[in-house]
């Protein structure tokens, strides 16, 4: 179903979460009877939520808290916690920066080198909390730091960049050979973002346990303005779920998890991500709104302090409730920002599904927001 844009160019019509909705069907169910548990490799979680490796979302303490609440917190191993012995004053400073000075000062703060010994100690701190340990590196830093990470001990290793391909070409340096790297590593790897069928299929063939789906995350609008690149999430997740199905067949049964990463601002978006075929979701802004999140009401990604081409910015998200209440309610507002788990359960119950895998089959409709 390609559209002719002009004589020399055709393109597919793609869809954002806002373009789609799920619809009730014949059966309904009690919310209490619904399971939202998720397991990947040997690890079990009560809820299919990963906290994104961003300094405004996950500190070692949040990672432990997230684990205790049934999910998984992923620490950014290239963030403030591995650059500074005590990052709290810097987190506080970032919150207070004047808008016009923010980008420049953040570029400075993040220019501080990463200390391998801090990588080790931060991961040890999380492990001591008794929860599943996960840390994230960018593809550019993976070769330099992965041995430190593995030696420190992680349960799940996350490689996360704007776009990660299985086939990076470089004239200057030997790029990371993901297939070889993952094969040799004795830890399950979750890798992405990938935003389409083909790049995701290639990532699955590297042996990854999970693929992060998305491009540019919460900075989608500025990425589109700056780079002209845009991969609306409903189509991206459904495409990568298609790659999972085809790879399952091709590999004779290896099930690679599809994790939606970006554009998940409300519980409704989370519901739609799973309806499109996601096994789990990685949450940024939704959790940065927790009153006990490290960002203290502010949220930023690595694009915000890119040296040459910043493509996002520090944004004020405010604080609405403690993390536990954002996840499990009760909600005191009706806008989909709190009781994320309760909303997911109710949505599954209303449409008659009892677990996440079944819920991926729920009926959906195309109904752009603009026409309500």
């Amino acid at each position: 179903m390609e559209i002719e844009i002009g004589r020399a160019k055709r393109g597919r019509r793609v869809y954002a979460f806002d373009d789609v909705a799920i619809v009730p069907s014949r059966r309904t169910r009690d919310p209490e009877d619904v399971s939202v548990s998720w397991s990947i490799d040997a690890f079990q979680f009560d809820i299919p939520f990963m906290a994104a490796p961003m300094d405004s979302v996950v500190s070692p303490a949040t990672a432990i808290q997230m684990g205790e609440l049934g999910g998984l917190g992923v620490l950014d191993l290239e963030g403030l916690w591995t650059r500074y012995e005590d990052p709290e004053p810097l987190l506080a400073e970032i919150r207070e920066l004047a808008p016009d000075a923010a980008t420049a000062r953040m570029q400075q703060i993040y220019a501080e080198p990463i200390k391998p010994e801090l990588v080790t100690s931060r991961l040890a701190e999380i492990r001591a909390g008794g929860v599943t340990v996960a840390g994230a590196l960018s593809p550019q830093r993976t070769q330099e730091l992965y041995q430190t990470v593995v030696d420190a001990g992680v349960d799940l290793f996350v490689i996360r960049g704007n776009t990660v391909s299985a086939e990076h070409v470089s004239k200057e340096r030997e790029p990371l050979n993901l297939k070889k790297f993952i094969y040799e590593l004795d830890v399950p790897v979750i890798v992405g973002g990938a935003a389409g069928y083909t790049p995701a299929l290639h990532l699955m063939r590297t042996g990854a346990a999970g693929v992060l789906v998305g491009f540019g995350g919460g900075a989608a609008a500025t990425t589109r303005a700056a780079l002209g690149i845009h991969a609306p999430m409903a189509t991206s997740v459904a495409d990568v779920a298609g790659a999972r199905r085809d790879y399952l067949d091709e590999s004779g049964g290896r099930y690679v998890h599809v994790i939606a990463d970006g554009g998940l601002g409300t519980s409704g978006d989370i519901v739609k991500a799973i309806a499109m075929g996601a096994d789990a979701v990685m949450l940024g802004a939704s959790l940065a709104r927790a009153s006990d999140a490290p960002g203290g009401g502010w949220h930023w990604g690595q694009e915000a302090h890119h040296g040459q081409l910043p493509r996002g910015k520090r944004v004020r998200v405010g604080t609405i409730a403690p993390l536990e209440q954002i996840l499990y309610g009760p909600a005191t507002v009706a806008d989909g920002t709190a009781n994320l788990v309760g909303a997911l359960r109710r949505s599954m119950a209303t449409t008659g599904y009892s677990d996440l895998k079944e819920f991926q089959r729920v009926d959906v409709v195309v109904a752009p927001y603009v026409s309500q």
Copy 2:
């Protein structure tokens, strides 16, 4: 006509009232020659309007007034009138609540238990007014309270929830068996909401006299944000009208009434609901705007005080005219909020139709608001 959203997901394009319009055809007619009468079971009404069972819309007094004006008022049997001997001070308090305190205080007010004796006396009061008596329960409370309701005497029994399915599954408790319940009850039942062909067809097969079409009513936007569920009304009504036609054939002639419930903010929306195949409409906000409505310029549904996951809120709708004038005019404004009956008549006359059943065949077009 399914759309591929992504490799692993397809969905239908669905339409809201704002996406469609009716168009004139060959013939025109005098508005005075048009009939807008409606009958269901043994009951006759001058106008096809039910007042929604919401505390801001229907009190026992309004139910009588609505009946006298030719329509049907449905009392919420789980609202303030069956929880409190004198709800007037609470209605007044709700109007005055500060925005940030409203949800919490309303949760408190509605925590007061329902008194069966009040159910009995409220329904008796309406019957004494000499009009058709209708009361509504949620599916959750139906088993507990229906005997009280039937003993008190109702002409029409309404079971109304966000989504009511003919097949509710529960591990904890025996769910309401709608088919058995309706079969044994000696009163016609109107049940819903249902938002699609299949769930509505199953409700029709339970023996219901009418099906309410809609999901989330006036809280559609917040329901979509919180649950990811959205069922735009133009498609929903036309789908359920399709179920009515198919069930008419399957049942050898049983005509189940299709009643649009939600998203009917203007007389234009009412016109479109009938054009899509509705036999009647259930009005909430449109009637809450009456200066003599119990809400006194405010409007709220049961979602507004849900304990764990509120999905709507008390909204200020203002007051524009007495109920009689909202229904029959004259209108002093031109925005479709007054003279609802006059507008329906004029619309039918302009397109040449003389009764509601014929008018369901009127030509419609797809013309999204955005492109005027």
Copy 3:
């Protein structure tokens, strides 16, 4: 190309002027070489513009001025000029009315009876100005007043209502038999509005010289809210142009003029109306903005003072330039409100066409405004 809205309803996708645009083609031309002349029956006009029969647009003096400028002014024979000996004080009063009092006071002012002797004298005044004389009646008043109008002498007789059908059905009174009426009348008749192929074809079969295309004119948004009726102009004009073509064949050569009436706020809209197949346009708001228009910066139609169901309102359009400059420039603004004739010429020149009939064949594209 019908769309399934839901199981029991299908509808066509229709288009507004804002949804379409014209595009340049192979050839260009000098604007000076372009002719924008129009003739209907025995009457020749330099420009294809009729001024709408509305009190804010056409007085007897404006009708003369419009004729001298090459177009045709149509006097509303049911407006202030035929109800009052001296309407100027009332025009001034309407301009000054407070917003919340306007509808009610206008209902009062227009309750004054029409005086046949004023119909006679106003038309005589225009004829004395040496221009083509045109007056408009509503279908409801045509039988009562047409003899007065014909005796007074008009060159073109306009019957204009929201929707005029060739087959009006009434139980109370004998409706106007348009076919018989037009056959017996010795004056060419322009009749409408009609908004679709079938109603327009039926109007053409009555013997009308021209058909007005539109529904609800500038009050389209409120008409849609109140009545649920909407006929976007691009589709309406192209449909009626299709009826003209088919009727030309069916009648063995009778060419009925298609006159777009409504939604023509800018010179771009006028260009598009002709591109869709219109022979001429009837202008309301565009001309009400003239500093010498009778409305003095305000604009209103007959819907604004409808007794029971007002569907438009008095709107402030402001004044931008004298009528001559609005038509012929120079424009001092770049928004399509001035130099309407110059813009039409330039548009035709840019796409290589030299007269209006040819220009109806210009290439058009569908390009909704929302995506610029």
Copy 4:
């Protein structure tokens, strides 16, 4: 894929840059390995950017600076620099004009006659700067001034108007015969705007080295309101790229460059223009935002001071950084207005392409902004 707008009219659905986006594919690459060089005829450029011949964008000094930075500055030979010995005071005056006086005063300023000797000296000044020399004339002035231009010495001759067709028809004067003109001229000619396949193909057949694609440039919005003409850029560029391909075949190998001209407000738009098939882009507003641009924070085109029908206006674009930084970064903002070259490189790298010609094949999707 034509759409029926109404019975008598059909049109193609066309697309703007905002309607489309590019998407990552299987491979990624280092931004440093990407080439963005462009060559036309014998001229080589480091970057595929032409600065538009507008007084707010290119002065002789800017033309030199643009050349030194790797691009091509085109001087407007009908602008202030060829009308006035010293235009600096007039540039300053235009910046300071009150909004309501601007159009009238600019009409006055640009009424000053063009001096051939200034054409000669301005071009000599640019040549003395050691860069490629390019000047632009409108089609109306080309016959009068081209000999002066050629004698003064230009490397690239630009003929630029709103719409330039290969077949202009005029009753009054002999129009420019482009084919003959270009054949006889010993300098490569870039000509446009053309906005569709057929007009561009005809321009290619005149022997032009490049075709400018666009209609109305940044003033497109008012052009649509005033003239009803609109040619969204994504479709226009892809159509003209189709003409290039067909003409390449038809001519046995003559490659005519496609240069997108208009609607390029962000680096994302530039990326999309090339993705649609452009070989280079002509930038106006993007470069007018340079702190060292002649407009000093204001931007205007020739439509802004058109005598009879102004179709654009002087707009405040502000200043964000010196020209060098707008082109090469670092960006301190994340909205696509700075580091245009860096963004183009990163976009190509992210999608795995290494030169501009290859990048024209990148995958694109249709994803209207409204649904993010």
